[in-house]
């Protein structure tokens, strides 16, 4: 849960990158650590195995001046994707403010993606939370692979709830779409502190049209709700 300190004028917000094993969660943080040059960033910490698989979490802290009169500290975490680390995923979700769900675009990973999305919802319930309360967005990663599933398929599979959420295409290994995803997640979380939030920022006000959206270009936002056009 967001922590507001009126003494140091600081707001701390926790964003968790969630998704199936090897979908690119850690790569997102590694790329962000390289790409971000203006915001004050901490060291990237990875609690990983010798084979570079996330064991507990990766962590990156960013200090920004996005809110007037406050320093906003975004604490970015990843979870371990492997099935055996479910308890760890529950622990990392403790106190979460927002979720970036990373989808592996590879056709062969669809079942893993779906299972991970269901697992996210179960683990939020374990933390007495749900996707209705916790702002989240989708990142369709690995868009550069030859056998990537079409965006309209991914939208139909993962963005077919009562309220459609923001979704972004990305290639985390090259940096495409990574910063855009983070900024959208940050705005999503900060919208609750705005006297005049708008639907374009929250991305939650679009009704589900039950029609898949057309594919968009790499690294760009998938326009939620424009399918009827």
């Amino acid at each position: 849960m967001a922590f507001i300190n009126y003494s140091s004028r600081e707001i701390q917000l926790k964003i968790v990158y969630y998704g199936a094993a090897l979908c690119g969660k850690t790569t997102n943080l590694v790329t962000l650590h390289k790409q971000i040059t203006h915001a004050q960033k901490g060291e990237l910490v990875s609690l990983a195995t010798d084979a570079d698989r996330t064991l507990f979490f990766d962590f990156l802290s960013l200090n920004t001046k996005t809110l007037p009169g406050f320093t906003t500290r975004f604490q970015l975490y990843t979870v371990p994707g492997q099935a055996i680390y479910n308890t760890t995923r529950q622990l990392v979700l403790k106190g979460v403010d927002g979720v970036v769900f990373v989808v592996d675009s590879h056709w062969d990973k669809m079942a893993d993606n779906v299972e991970s999305f269901a697992n996210l919802q179960e683990n939020l319930i374990e933390n007495h939370l749900s996707l209705v309360q916790i702002p989240y967005l989708l990142q369709y990663n690995k868009r550069d692979i030859p056998n990537a599933a079409p965006i309209n398929y991914l939208e139909y599979t993962f963005n077919n709830r009562a309220n459609r959420v923001l979704a972004f295409e990305s290639v985390a290994s090259t940096g495409s779409g990574v910063l855009e995803t983070l900024n959208a997640a940050a705005r999503l979380l900060l919208a609750k502190y705005s006297k005049t939030p708008n639907a374009n920022v929250t991305g939650m006000a679009q009704p589900n049209l039950s029609v898949a959206v057309p594919p968009s270009t790499e690294g760009s936002q998938v326009q939620a709700g424009n399918a009827a056009a």
Partner: protein
């Protein structure tokens, strides 16, 4: 949420604790990894990382406790060659994290940690009651546009 008064009161308790125990640094951290308040000196250590790792470590220990049939291990101690860490569970999903060195010992630190824990729990209870009735933070200005983007 911590008001200026809450923060001052908590930091005062932490400073008193450091004075008595001769520990080096102490902090109030929540179980989500947020640093609430701190006192003492850690040199150039990144306190966000320290808080995140402490919370993660304590969370893992909590799961171990559950599997052993304990509701919680109330304290966790990591012993190093020159520096050591004691983590103590507080109410309201918080932890007291203390780093200490050769000037003192675990017995003394733990004794005073148990005392300050009671005082901190009371302060957290008051802060929690205030938060429940506080107006939500709402700010003017368009801080959701591209000019405020993280780059």
């Amino acid at each position: 949420m911590l008001t200026v008064e809450d923060q001052t009161a908590i930091e005062q308790r932490l400073a008193d604790f450091l004075g008595k125990s001769e520990a080096q640094w102490s902090a109030l951290v929540d179980k989500g990894g947020n640093l609430f308040a701190q006192s003492g000196d850690t040199g150039n250590l990144d306190l966000s990382i320290l808080s995140a790792l402490a919370a993660g470590s304590f969370a893992a220990t909590h799961e171990l406790a559950k599997r052993l049939g304990e509701s919680e291990f109330s304290a966790l101690y990591h012993e190093g060659l020159g520096q050591h860490i004691l983590m103590s569970a507080l109410h309201h999903e918080c932890l007291l994290v203390t780093i200490f060195g050769e000037r003192t010992n675990i017995g003394l630190v733990r004794f005073y940690a148990q005392q300050v824990t009671l005082a901190l729990n009371e302060l957290l209870k008051q802060a929690s009651a205030k938060e429940a009735t506080a107006a939500p933070l709402l700010l003017d200005g368009d801080f959701l546009n591209d000019r405020a983007a993280i780059t």
